[in-house]
Each structure stands twice: as structure tokens, then as C-alpha cells.
């Protein structure tokens, strides 16, 4: 079943490269997404058997990330099809600088999308750390072409930074994996396999300095991919230049996968009694990320960059939650879900706004509620959700994390956390509200666009609202298991 989850998108991806007919390729995309979605839902009812000697298995954490990815991809695929249908084929002029540019081949875009899905699924299900590494690197390679869909210099620059910075980070992560392998060698030369469960089972016998070094390397390496400050530098560029479809997946799904890499290591370290050390680092980088996000959200004039930095903030929150440990980890896991749904929705809506207003500057956009009532409403909903006001999911998860902090007497952390969240709210409220409300600068007549462009974000919005008022017991159970893995 797990293999199926992998082979399905991978195969479809390869086929997509060679399919001539757009219609066929698009339907292939949607079909694969739906099948993958259906499969991952099945895994909630029938626990899939581990395969490849336990290298591929779906524990609670993996299940969360995998399902989340699948859900997002499902919603996004509809959007993508509509988006591709409406994208101009021939060369067209860039709305910011006016030069002429053309898009990449749709075939390769679709193909990469599917391969991207395959890679992310692999990240979620692989229990073997080296394999995990391979998968993470694969996500980078599969997603780079997505960012460079619009063939112009800005997206190229973004792609280059993404490639280089992430590759460097990932290389360090590989070193970390090797370090861990070293740590796993007992003095007599015998070794434990690199499968997470085995490692955490005899984590007590691991060689401490090497584990520490390994954790640092993996934190920096995967942290780069996850967008923890100060390694986040590629993130705003990539998210703002990629087409909204890609931005949604990058922010909603990819970052979680990278975080999963860190969580696996954390799992081992916690089992090895190194929690104080790792928690300390996670807290530092988490709060740092939130602070950096605050710095750049304040006075931000590009709304896609604003969303990107908000992703940095929420990655920080995830790290803080895990770093706090205890009840906060549950909150962190829940937060991962809420953030992914909300942020993906916001990026898709941003895509709609961008398509109509043809500018990414917050000053350029006004009166979305008047021009695009539905998207405008979703935008406001997303804004309130992402800034953590009830009745949306993020409120609950942020509350849980805060409670964790205060219950453990981490008052300082709690204060910094709260004040940063408050600053970011105040900073985002200005532009986000100004965009939605009021009247457009010059009268705009919105073009008639495909319904899918509204339904896709709406699907996610339902989730955002649902998890704010009701968390299904099954989900709670899995979240608890996941939290238990990290405590």
C-alpha cells in the first residue's frame, strides 16, 4: 500500500512528461491526486504494513504529514488545472516590469508537480534516515522547476537561490546523517541500522558528542529547507516568484516534510535523553524565526512575500512547540495541520487576487471584497485564521503551545511568543485589511474565471474552520501518538 502511494505519483509524473495532449495530462493530474488522496484516507482505516524491511512504514507522524500533503495536493490539483487552462500559452508581458516572457512547458510543470508529490510522500513514509535524506533532496530537485515556471529573471533568481541554499543545507544534513551513523557504531564495531525505531530503541548507547553534532548538522540542514531563521533566506523569494500553485505546495506541504526530518532526529535524541539539549536549540531557533518574520512582515509591501514570512513565523511556532515538549508537542502537531491548510488557502487566494489586479504590491490592491466577493471573503477568513483568532484552528494550536509554555513555567518564552504573535498580527492587519476593504483604485471588471479557482481554496477553508471548532477523535488519537513519539 505504501509502495502504491509512492509509485502512483512517480509513475504518473514520468508519464506526464511524455503526454502530448493537455486534456489527458490534466485529467491524469487530477486523477492521480484523487487516487492518492483516497489511498491516504484508506491508511486511516487500515494501518499499512511496513515494507522494505521496515524502511518504509507509516507511523503517526508520517501519517499526519503524508495525509496533509495528499489533501493539499488534491485541492491544489483542481486549482492547477484551472490555472494552467487560463495561463496564456504564448509569450506575454510581465506586469511588474513589462518585458515579454513565456512559460515553461506545461508537460514538465505537471510532471514535476507529480514527482514532487512522490518525493514528499517518500519523505513522510521513510523510516531510514539516509533514505529520508534522499527523499528530501529529491523534493528540492522536483520543486525547483516549479518555481521557474514563468521564464523570467526574477523567478530564475529565486530558483537559483533556492537550489543553491537548499543544496548546501541538505549537504550538511547528509553529513549529519553520517555523523549519526558514526554515533550508532558501538566500540566493538557492531552497528545499529539507520532505521528510526532501532536507533531510538538503543538510543542510550549512542555516542553523545556525535549525536549532538549530528543533531546540529541536521537542524541546520533541514532547518534551511524548513525555513527556520536565519536559514530562511531563500523562502520569501521562492514563494513570491513561484506560481501560486507551487507556493501553496511549498508552504503547505514541503516545509512540513523538512520539519519531519528534524522531528525524526528529535525522536532519537529524546529517546537518548538528550531532550534538554535539543529543546534548547529548537526554542532558540523557533523564537528567532518568529522574530525575523515579525521584522519583515512589518511594513511589507508584497503580499506574497508577507505570506512567505508568515510561514517562517509558523515554522518558528512549530519549533517552539516541539522545543517546549510536553503538552505543547500536541499543539505543535495540530498547528502543523492548521497552518498548512490556512497557508495553502491563502496562497491560492493570493493567486486569484494577483490574476485580477496584476500586481503583488499591497498598495496596488484595494477593495477585493467589492471586486471578488468570494475570494475577498476567503482572504479575510484566511487572514483572521493565520493570525490566530478563533473560531479557526490556529487559535487552538497556538493556545495549546502557550499553555504548554506557561504550565512548564517558561514565562519568558511565553511572553516573547505572545508579543511576537501580537506584533505580527498588528503588522499584517494593516495591509491585509486595506487590500480587502475599501474601493479599488481604478474600477476593475473581474474576468469570468473557472469555478475551480474558488472551490479549491474553499475546500481548504472548510478544514480551517472545522478544526477550529471540532477535532475528530481519530485525529486526536493520531496527534497524541505523534506527540508521544516526541516525549
Amino acid at each position: 500500500m505504501i509502495l502504491l502511494l509512492l509509485i502512483l505519483p512517480a509513475g504518473a509524473g514520468i508519464i506526464a512528461f511524455f503526454l502530448a495532449s493537455d486534456r489527458l495530462r490534466r485529467s491524469l493530474l487530477v486523477l492521480t491526486a484523487s487516487a492518492h488522496f483516497a489511498l491516504s484516507l484508506l491508511t486511516w482505516f487500515f494501518q499499512p504494513a511496513p515494507s522494505m524491511a521496515g524502511w518504509l512504514a507509516e507511523d503517526a507522524l508520517g501519517k499526519l504529514v503524508e495525509t496533509l500533503t495528499s489533501v493539499l495536493f488534491f485541492a491544489v490539483s483542481f486549482y492547477a488545472v484551472a490555472y494552467l487552462r487560463e495561463e496564456q500559452r504564448e509569450a506575454h508581458s510581465d506586469f511588474e516590469e513589462g518585458f515579454i516572457f513565456s512559460n515553461a512547458r506545461e508537460a514538465s510543470f505537471t510532471g514535476c508537480l507529480l514527482l514532487f508529490l512522490a518525493a514528499m510522500t517518500l519523505v513522510a513514509v521513510s523510516q531510514q534516515l539516509a533514505l529520508l535524506w534522499v527523499a528530501v533532496e529529491a523534493t528540492t530537485l522536483a520543486s525547483a522547476p516549479l518555481i521557474y515556471f514563468h521564464r523570467h529573471h526574477r523567478s530564475l533568481e529565486a530558483t537559483w537561490k533556492y537550489l543553491l541554499i537548499c543544496s548546501v543545507g541538505i549537504a550538511l544534513a547528509l553529513l549529519g546523517v553520517f555523523f549519526l551513523a558514526v554515533a550508532a557504531t558501538n566500540p566493538d564495531g557492531s552497528t545499529t541500522s539507520m532505521v528510526v525505531r532501532d536507533l531510538s530503541q538503543n538510543a542510550r548507547h549512542l555516542n553523545v558528542p556525535w549525536v549532538k553534532a549530528a543533531f546540529i548538522l541536521l537542524l541546520v540542514g533541514y532547518g534551511t529547507k524548513m525555513g527556520l531563521a536565519p536559514f530562511h533566506t531563500w523562502l520569501p523569494d521562492a514563494h513570491s516568484e513561484a506560481p501560486s500553485v507551487a507556493s501553496a505546495l511549498l508552504s503547505g506541504a514541503l516545509l512540513n516534510c523538512a520539519f519531519l526530518g528534524i522531528l525524526r532526529t528529535q525522536e532519537i535524541c529524546v529517546a537518548g535523553g538528550l531532550a534538554p539539549f535539543t529543546d534548547q536549540l529548537l526554542l532558540i531557533f523557533g523564537l528567532l524565526s518568529m522574530a525575523v518574520a515579525a521584522v519583515f512582515i512589518l511594513g511589507q509591501t508584497d503580499y506574497k512575500r508577507m505570506l512567505a514570512y508568515s510561514s517562517v513565523e509558523h515554522m518558528g511556532i512549530l519549533a517552539v512547540g516541539v522545543g517546549l515538549g510536553g503538552a505543547a508537542v500536541f499543539g505543535s502537531a495540530l498547528h502543523m495541520i492548521n497552518h498548512s491548510l490556512t497557508k495553502a488557502m491563502l496562497f491560492l487566494v493570493a493567486g486569484n487576487i494577483l490574476a485580477v489586479y496584476r500586481t503583488k504590491s499591497t498598495e496596488g490592491v484595494a477593495g477585493v471584497l467589492a471586486v471578488l466577493p468570494f475570494s475577498g471573503a476567503l482572504w479575510l477568513l484566511g487572514f483572521f485564521a493565520i493570525t490566530g483568532s478563533p473560531p479557526f484552528g490556529i487559535f487552538l494550536s497556538e493556545f495549546a503551545i502557550l499553555k504548554g509554555a506557561l504550565d512548564q513555567g517558561q514565562t519568558l518564552v511565553a511572553i516573547i511568543y505572545l508579543s511576537l504573535v501580537a506584533i505580527i498580527l498588528a503588522a499584517m492587519a494593516g495591509p491585509a485589511l486595506a487590500m480587502a476593504q475599501g474601493n479599488p483604485r481604478e474600477p476593475i471588471t473581474p474576468p469570468v474565471r473557472s469555478i475551480a479557482l474558488r472551490t479549491a481554496p474553499a475546500m481548504l477553508a472548510v478544514g480551517v474552520l472545522l478544526f477550529g471548532v471540532y477535532i475528530p477523535p481519530a485525529l486526536t488519537r493520531v496527534l497524541r501518538e505523534a506527540a508521544h513519539l516526541l516525549n
Binding site: 531510514q128 539516509a130 533514505l131 535524506w133 534522499v134 533532496e137 529529491a138 528540492t140 530537485l141 525547483a144 522547476p145 521557474y148 521564464r151 523570467h152 529573471h153 526574477r154 530564475l156 533568481e157 529565486a158 530558483t159 537559483w160 537561490k161 537550489l163 543553491l164 543544496s167 548546501v168 549537504a171 550538511l172 547528509l174 553529513l175 553520517f178 555523523f179 551513523a181 558514526v182 554515533a183 557504531t185 558501538n186 566500540p187 566493538d188 564495531g189 552497528t191 539507520m194 555516542n207 558528542p209 556525535w210 553534532a213 520569501p236 523569494d237 513570491s240 516568484e241 519583515f296 512589518l298 511594513g299 511589507q300 509591501t301 508584497d302 512575500r305 498598495e363
Partner: protein, 217 residues
Amino acid sequence: MAQVINSTLVLLVLSGFTLLGSSRLAACIRAVAFQGMLLGLLAICLQGANVTMTGLLLAVTTAAVKSVLLPWLLLRAMREAEAVREVEPLISFNVSIIAGAAVLILSLWLGQRLQLPSQPPSSLLVPAALFTCLTGMIVIVSRRKALTQVMGYLALENGVYTFGAAVALRLPVLVELGILLDVFVGVFVMGIAIFHISREFDHIDTDKLVALTDHLS
């Protein structure tokens, strides 16, 4: 055997300095290729007596990819980009070499902080690996051309490999190959990117790639 390993590692370090020191792209590429070859050698030597067929094959493929395929990719990219054949560093070569020296000391120190649990084939192994990684980083940070940054990345990878070689025997073949494939595709994609960059800006200086910053009010 130990002498071979040690001398290989020394050569590795020297090639690192060449990478830092040489002013011509081609020379740098050759340095990186040489590192690749050394890696192959190292992999074989580290297996020592109980050398297996797969181990041998892996070492050879690695060496081939790293010392032939990737450099060829880079040379091709260089030709397509019609880049100036100079390295154009942000900091002078002397400074880079001094930095290299500093890094060497650092990695030696770290090396003896981090003792391999099992008896290491050579005390130089860890320092050399770390040093190579860090030289790669220095190159990325201190050079202008996108191409040089790829070389830096390769050097970094080589460093990681050097270390990998020490523990590689315990990594399954499949993973080894996966890693190799990733690196290869990575460099391949970067090559394409460089090609596009040169076509877009008709040069490959990354300090022109600064359009994307925050225009904050």
C-alpha cells in the same frame, strides 16, 4: 595501507587549497575532479582487506561520476555560458587561502574533539572531511560566478563523501546510489540554471541576482 590513506587525505587537503587559490575556472574544475578521484581511491582503501565487489563498484562509480561526469557538465556549462575564464572572487586569493588555513586549524581541533568510536583508519580522516566541506563553503561565499558556487557545492559534497567513506560500508548500496543520483541531478539542474542565467543576463555573476529583496515601507 594506512600511509596510502593518509597521503590521500593530505592530497585532498592540498586540492582544497588549490581550489581556493587558483584564479582560473578550468583549474578549479580540475581540482574538484581530482578530489573526486581521491574519493574513489579512499573508498577502496578504507575497505581494506575485506573488499567486496559491490564496494568496489560503488567506489568506481562514485569516482567516475565525481571526477568525469560532473566536471564535464561544468566545463560544458562554462562553454555555453561563454563566461570569462577568471574566477572573480569577492575577496583576494590570499585572504581565501588564509581563511582556508584558519578553517584547517578549526577542523583539526574539531577532529580531535570528535573521536571516532571505533579505531579510525586515520586520525586525519575527520579533519580532512570537515576541511573539504568548509573550503566548499568558503568558495560559495567568496566567489562571484554561479559556476564557482556550483564547484563550491561539489567540494562540500566531496567533503561529506570523504566522511561518508569512513562509514559508507554500513550504508546500503541502494541509498549510496540514491545519494549519488541526487548529487548528480542536483548539479545537472544547477547546470541548466546556469545556462538560463547566462542567457537571461548574458553573464553568470550572481551579484546581479539581487532583484529580490524586501521593499519595505
